[in-house]
């Protein structure tokens, strides 16, 4: 809508208050979305009701943690954990803006406190400890909050004898928390070691995109690893690799399908079948047991974290 149009409209508005308004760009974008893959224009409400999967080409749009949880869990079953846990700026990190400011911005944009939502919920009747990451918040990066929430989620799983499911989507570690951020890889992996010792199941769901420190820790430690179609998953980013090896990579490099072929994941599951698959997986592993499942090692349940 250019200025002339706008003035024309304003005049019309003044003449006749009931005139129909043309859409603003934001409104337009809110109502319609274009598929990244097939370029089809899709009515947003339709897209949403189709689980944010393009009805034409089945492209799986990125979705946020909230939408993910809504899609997967039984209505009203989700009880959030640690909703108030927030980042601080332990290193007083400052690049072109301060980390504190960036955190505020990120929250304003995403409506979230950090890049993961965790809680207890049921999926088609099966109770689980569930985490969902949100790429829209700070690129889904893992800092102290993501690490701490994952660790607590896993502990909740151990305490309540529940399988743990984490739906990942992340650009990697959060640089602005420096070494703390790197150490969250160790923290989350150590937590999962305790879950493993307790004989409990962990299902990792990889979604577009999952990279870096998240893949090199909890995302690749699933007893079962599921990916969504087309999701790009890897440790190093495609561009970095191309710069390093000075070669073009195959088009489907690091896609879910490529990973399946290379033995890195158990299955690729389309979004409409995800909840059912998870429920069936959980059901399958709740078998008539030969021996009692007992947690052999347990970390102090009270999380001891420093505050600055």
């Amino acid at each position: 809508m250019d200025l002339k149009e706008w003035f024309a409209n304003r005049r019309k508005r003044q003449e006749n208050l009931e005139i129909k308004q043309p859409l603003t760009t934001e409104e337009y974008c809110a109502l319609w979305k274009q598929c990244f893959q097939c370029r089809e224009l899709i009515y947003t409400r339709d897209l949403h009701s189709n689980l944010s999967v393009c009805p034409k080409c089945q492209y799986h749009f990125r979705i946020g943690a909230q939408e993910r949880i809504e899609q997967l869990t039984d209505e009203g079953s989700f009880k959030e954990l640690d909703s108030s846990l927030s980042s601080t700026d332990p290193l007083k990190f400052f690049d072109t803006a301060s980390y504190s400011n960036r955190l505020e911005e990120a929250s304003k944009k995403s409506g979230l406190r950090d890049a993961i939502i965790t809680g207890i919920a049921s999926i088609q009747g099966k109770e689980v400890a569930l985490g969902a990451m949100d790429f829209a918040h700070f690129g889904g990066s893992m800092g102290s909050v993501v690490g701490e929430k994952v660790a607590r989620l896993v502990e909740a799983g151990i305490e309540n004898h529940l399988p743990v499911i984490i739906v990942s989507s992340s650009g990697g570690a959060r640089m602005q928390e420096g070494i703390f951020s790197l150490m969250q890889m160790a923290k989350t992996s150590a937590a999962l070691e305790s879950l493993h010792e307790a004989g409990l199941m962990y299902i990792s769901v990889l979604t577009e995109p999952t990279y870096g420190g998240v893949t090199a820790s909890f995302a690749f430690l699933g007893d079962i690893i599921i990916a969504e179609p087309g999701a790009r998953i890897g440790f190093a980013g495609r561009r970095v690799i191309e710069q390093t090896i000075r070669q073009k990579l195959p088009n489907d490099f690091q896609t879910a399908e490529y990973l399946l072929k290379h033995g890195q994941i158990d299955m690729v599951v389309e979004r409409p079948k995800l909840a059912e698959t998870l429920a069936r997986m959980i059901d399958f592993h709740q078998v008539i047991e030969f021996r009692p499942r007992v947690a052999k090692t347990k970390v102090e349940a009270t999380s001891t974290h420093r505050e600055q």
Binding site: M175, M185, F220, A236, I241, Q264
Partner: protein, 322 residues
């Protein structure tokens, strides 16, 4: 191998020292014919020592980085050789490769027999290429994992010496699932009931370093650095500028002293004045003393306590508010 007679390569921030050293050399050459210059030479020599100490007690983060990356920095092999000149190297992941960027073996350190693992950057160009400049492949991490399991079976403590730019962003590395290789190492390291001590001797580069770095105690040499991303990577992402490396170094708090201050690192090990490369023997000796001291404490714990100690250590790392 560098010894005290070999000339070490000077770094940028050592420029004033180099200039002064040249002046001293000039005067020394004249001493024979002009013995009256003796007091001047002595004075300059004192000045040199004062300047040296002053420079080394006021290093910027990027100066530490330069020292950590010094071409003559001692690598894992240099330490293992000095800890135990008959140490036995063990090779391979048993599956497909022996990654030269990760070395491992059976090393005696004072009264302790340990499984030692370290990264190797390679000394000359050929070696550097073979070692991929210290960037391990997934097979290297898996070789390390085999060593972790060996140590666990035989109740041997594990020592890891870390000096790596990080994991290698290569196509095969991705196809061989380096993410999983690193993650699996973290989980296995968390499960061990033997003591694990990790030492960042040079560069502690991100996930590639952590893959052999989840330990009961983390030590850093005085000029070593440890970061979640290379300062170059950080600068190019956050400042979109390669010139901002020094700034990135400062921002990330990657020096031994800074990381020790926030309690992620348990001990900073002194280096010889001028850096570890000035005196391999002294450096190895100092590090050996630190390792023995740590092992003395850790080996007093029960296997269960050792594991618990490690889990609790990592459980606590991170800063959040509620």
């Amino acid at each position: 191998m560098v010894n005290n007679e070999t000339k070490t390569v000077p770094l940028d921030f050592e420029q004033p020292l180099t200039v002064l050293a040249q002046q001293i050399e000039l005067l020394e050459a004249q001493l024979q014919s002009q013995p009256e210059l003796e007091p001047d030479v002595t004075h300059l020599r004192d000045q040199y020592e004062i300047l040296r100490r002053s420079i080394y007690s006021n290093l910027r983060p990027i100066d530490h980085l330069a020292l950590a990356r010094h071409a003559q920095r001692p690598y894992a092999r240099d330490y293992f050789d000095r800890f135990d000149n008959t140490w036995m190297e063990l090779h391979g992941d048993r599956k497909m490769a022996d990654d030269p960027a990760i070395i491992s073996g059976l090393v005696t350190i004072g009264p302790y027999k340990v499984v030692a693992i370290g990264t190797d950057k390679g000394r000359n160009l050929r070696q550097k290429q073979i070692c991929n400049f210290g960037m391990p492949q997934p097979e290297g991490y898996r070789k390390a994992m085999r060593m972790f399991e060996h140590a666990e079976k035989f109740h041997l403590p594990i020592i890891t010496l870390i000096d790596t730019p990080g994991a290698y962003p290569g196509m095969a590395a991705e196809e061989h699932n380096q993410a999983e290789a690193i993650a699996r190492n973290l989980m296995v390291l968390a499960s061990l009931t033997v003591p694990v001590i990790a030492v960042v001797t040079g560069e502690g580069g991100s996930g590639g370093a952590l893959a052999i770095g989840l330990a009961n105690r983390i030590l850093m040499l005085e000029h070593a650095v440890y970061s979640v991303i290379s300062p170059e990577g950080c600068a190019s992402i956050l400042w979109r500028s390669a010139d901002k490396v020094a700034t990135a170094c400062e921002a990330m708090k990657m020096t031994a002293a800074e990381i020790h201050k926030i309690s992620v690192v348990d001990e900073v090990v002194d280096e010889p004045l001028g850096g570890a490369h000035q005196n391999y023997d002294l450096m190895a000796h100092t590090l050996q003393k630190s390792l023995i001291k740590q092992l003395d404490k850790l080996t007093k714990m029960s296997p269960k306590q050792i594991k618990q100690d490690r889990l609790e250590k990592y459980r606590k790392i991170g800063v959040t508010v509620e």
